[in-house]
């Protein structure tokens, strides 16, 4: 392993005025972080931070677009450092901006349908007048939207922004024992989440085996636009209250094992339990009569607890200029969702080992939650838990992706950076479609989902 010794940022800064923008950014980042940018270059063509490396910066800009639905822009910056005494630190900032149309849970119909956006208080298009607590008379027009016959009902006014911060620390307690701690904050205008985690890892067998255990505690506060609806209530009555919350705890037991010089494997067993308000406050369900006509809508109602268990197995191997990662996951929960996930990445380096291509395939399958139903029967005597959220239905999904990466060495600044770009295509195909009554036959009740993801990344 060849370690490049890097001069200090003050030396780097003397060069930046006459150099290209990339150098300026590197130097500026060094100045901001008050340190140098050291990298190690290994025989295999990849880059890994040396034990005494300074700050490493990893950044990405992701563009996500669903056909006919949501578009999201997501910049991410991560900075990390490995200290000479074995301590590690990383921090990450994520910003999301989403806009577009999102399904509200109702079914298509042969007749036009009218809905109110979450802030609406009536399905009537006429302005409503009310008196505020301060005695002021206010007149508001209802933010309603209409859906043409045969179209999937979607709220066209969806927009959201999210800012998430996270930090993780690790420090050796002994030569073989390492402790870790971390936390996350996430803020949206209708959602706030805070979580903390702590863990411990112990090496065995000349550091070929590592056993780890982690705990996580999360608290979420929800302030839905227009208030949180009463679960299972009539949509037309607009029975909404204030904010809601949920909290969860999780534990994960991990085993990492070096099998051979070219094979590393990891096995994780995890469990988490959430309780509180687990509904999607913006999702409703159509009530359908025997002829297939929509007679009304109810807000969805999910159980207020959920326990998930998952088993995750990842393998990594490398041969010459090729490396591969294969992961498998099985998940089950007490909502009776079962899922299987398989994903493989294969990375091919060129002869000089400064560029690579990485195709990816992911396959996913899940069964439906036991309370999932695309619609409710108008003759049902009693409505228990029910949700028409397609994310809780049975479906399969595939992802095809291709990533290209190139290492960019700068002899003057003695730095090495890596540029990457990847494009992925994601498609969901619903399973176990129920036969629809009467007028609903012939309508596309299970439209599935198609999306693309474009991500550019740069790390140095």
């Amino acid at each position: 392993m060849q370690l490049k010794n890097i001069p200090g940022c003050s030396a780097g800064l003397s060069l930046v005025k006459s150099k290209v923008a990339r150098r300026r950014l590197i130097a500026a980042s060094c100045a901001l972080l008050g340190t140098t940018a050291a990298r190690s270059q290994d025989a295999g063509g990849g880059t890994a931070d040396a034990a005494t490396a300074a700050w490493a910066v990893d950044s990405a800009l992701a563009y996500y677009h669903e056909s006919g639905r949501i578009t999201a822009i997501e910049p991410i910056v991560n900075v990390s450092k490995e200290f000479a005494d074995g301590k590690t630190f990383s921090a990450q900032v994520v910003f999301d901006s989403l806009s577009g149309s999102t399904p509200n849970g109702a079914l298509p119909s042969t007749r036009p349908q009218t809905f109110a956006s979450p802030s609406g208080k009536t399905l009537s298009g006429t302005p409503t007048t009310y008196t505020t607590s301060s005695g002021q008379l206010v007149s508001e027009s209802a933010p309603i939207y209409s859906i043409n016959p045969g179209q999937l009902p979607m709220d066209p006014h969806y927009h959201d922004q999210r800012l998430a911060l996270s930090g993780d620390w690790g420090w050796p307690l002994t030569r073989l024992l390492t402790a870790s701690a971390g936390g996350k904050l996430s803020y949206e205008h209708d959602f706030f989440s805070v979580s903390a985690n702590a863990g411990i890892a112990r090496d065995f067998n000349e550091k070929n085996t590592t056993l780890s255990f982690q705990l996580n505690d999360e608290f979420d506060s929800l302030r839905p636009i227009g208030g949180a609806p009463v679960a299972g209530s009539d949509y037309a009555l607009f029975q909404k209250g204030g904010g809601k919350s949920k909290d969860g705890v999780g534990a994960m037991l991990g085993l990492t094992q070096v099998i051979s010089r070219r094979w590393l494997t990891e096995l994780n067993l995890s469990i988490d339990r959430f309780k509180g308000y687990l509904n999607d406050p913006y999702k409703i369900i159509s009530i359908i009569d025997g002829a297939g006509n929509t007679t009304g809508y109810l807000y969805e109602r999910r159980p207020d607890t959920r326990t998930r268990k998952s088993l995750y197995w990842e393998n990594r191997t490398a041969w010459g200029r090729v490396s591969a990662a294969l992961s498998l996951r099985y998940m089950t929960d007490d909502w009776r969702v079962r899922s299987d996930t398989a994903q493989i990445h294969v990375r091919w380096w060129n002869f000089d080992r400064d560029r690579f291509l990485e195709p990816t395939v992911r396959w996913y399958r899940q069964s439906a939650a036991d309370f999932y139903t695309p619609w409710l029967d108008s003759t049902a005597a009693q409505i228990g838990y029910a949700s028409s959220d397609s994310r809780l239905g049975a479906f399969q999904a595939v992802t095809y992706g291709l990533k290209y990466g190139a290492k960019l060495d700068d002899a003057d600044l003695q730095t090495s950076s890596q540029f990457s770009i990847r494009l992925e295509y994601y498609q969901q195909t619903p399973d176990h479609r129920q036969s629809a009554p009467g007028a609903l036959q012939g309508l596309d009740l299970y439209p599935g989902l198609k999306a693309i993801l474009l991500q550019v990344g740069w790390k140095f």
Partner: protein, 75 residues
């Protein structure tokens, strides 16, 4: 099976697995391939973060390689 028995079985399985793993592995001077950047378990953390967020908001499953949740009101 009671929780006590489940814990005992889990502990025994972990102990057996750890004992079995003691015959696997490499010497410190044989780690050149394992030290490659693309052989690290979290080799591309930002790619993993973007993927996790996408799948978390579109599917009923999440987590596995780390803790799920942690901030998204979309599911």
């Amino acid at each position: 099976m009671s929780i006590k028995w489940a814990n005992l079985v889990l502990f025994a399985a972990a102990a057996a697995l750890t004992a079995g793993c003691s015959s696997l592995g490499v010497k410190p001077w044989q780690r050149n391939v394992l030290a490659r950047g693309d052989m690290q378990l979290n080799a591309e953390p930002l790619t993993a973060a973007v993927d996790d967020h996408m799948y978390f908001s579109k599917e009923a499953s999440s987590g596995g390689r780390g803790f799920a949740g942690g901030g998204c009101g979309c599911n």
